[in-house]
Amino acid sequence: MTLGLDLTLIAGLLALALHVVIVRDDRNAVVAFVAFGLLLGLAWVRLYSVDVALTEAAIGGGVTGVLLLRTEALIRPASAAPTASRRSGGALAAIACVLLAGGLAIAVLSFPNPAPTLAPEAAEALGRTGLGNPVTAVLLAYRSLDTLLEKIVLIIALVGLWSLAPETLWGGAPELHPTAIPEPLVYLARVLPPFGVLIAVYEFWVGADAPGGTFQAGTILAAMYLLVLKAGLRPAPEVKRTALRVLVAGGPALFLAVGFLGFLMADGFLSFPDGAAKPLIVGIEAALTLSIAGILSLLVAGPPSKAPAP
């Protein structure tokens, strides 16, 4: 019974992946990519990785899709018929992808059986972190350096996006909403955000003990804020505002500060003192959630397109 479901999922994923690569129309490809992200989320659920599934649906299906759609709309006039160089580039990319996928397949198939795993060690040390969700423990305690660097990469991406603005607009506000805002969108932007914020807080809080966490909660918050911006209920903020920059950098900065505190209070960089791990992790997660929400919504909003008020 479940085998049928799994095979259908795999067939759907392969068909969508092929469609994304083959289809000529860029927007069509992006829409298929979003559907691919959602289906991939289901596949992760089938692999019992609900944390990854939630992140895949939020980031792979949601934010990446919106970013790609907006980019496609911006570059459409420039990207007309496919040229010869684009085609040869595509062939090169296809060969590289096939080689990489083949290598990965060989590596995965040649794993010893049972595959090497750190799961018992991770589960054993779980009690010392005070957390109930091993995924959160890996992200914020065992391998927190990776998580920290990942958040800093997000900030660098945002700075890179902002620097696309012309000199005169630097520090100004991005423009997100269309000139004529449809009535139903305004209604949705008034009704949905309270629920969205509630769900985001729940996702963040439950992440300590069950699937959920900062990225999922931050993405939901970002989506709600973008809905409000898109419906024109609030003007987009000027990116030179101090409060906005504190919000964006706050989470990683707090993470880094707690990391350095580890030298004084525990065994070294990014190590938490015994007994205080859980409150520290929850505090870092709260700040990170807000930072991620800010960064993701500003990434989607795009580079500043209005001159800053003097």
């Binding site: 911006l74 269309p178 449809p182 009535e183 139903p184 949705l188 009704v191 949905l192």
Partner: protein, 98 residues
Amino acid sequence: MTYIMDGFTLICVSAGTLLFLAGTLGLLRFPDTLSRLHALSKADNLGLGLIVIGLLPQATSVTGALKLVCVWLLAQLSAATASQLIAGVVFRGKPPPK
């Protein structure tokens, strides 16, 4: 008692999936955007609603059941808005917004 519950679930979820199937057929076969939207919203609202009602007896707790109902209500809200937006674009005959 559990037999009745399970039977209820089976009937409702089957009806719901049937509606999804019909909606998908309509989405693929109907001639214009508005009738395709019509088919899609039937699947979204009624199909998902039937599946949720069918799953209610299987919920282990009251909060679990409430969450299911919330999923349906939120899906209703977003599906209705999306349909309205797409229909509005078609009605005004403009290209889709960027």
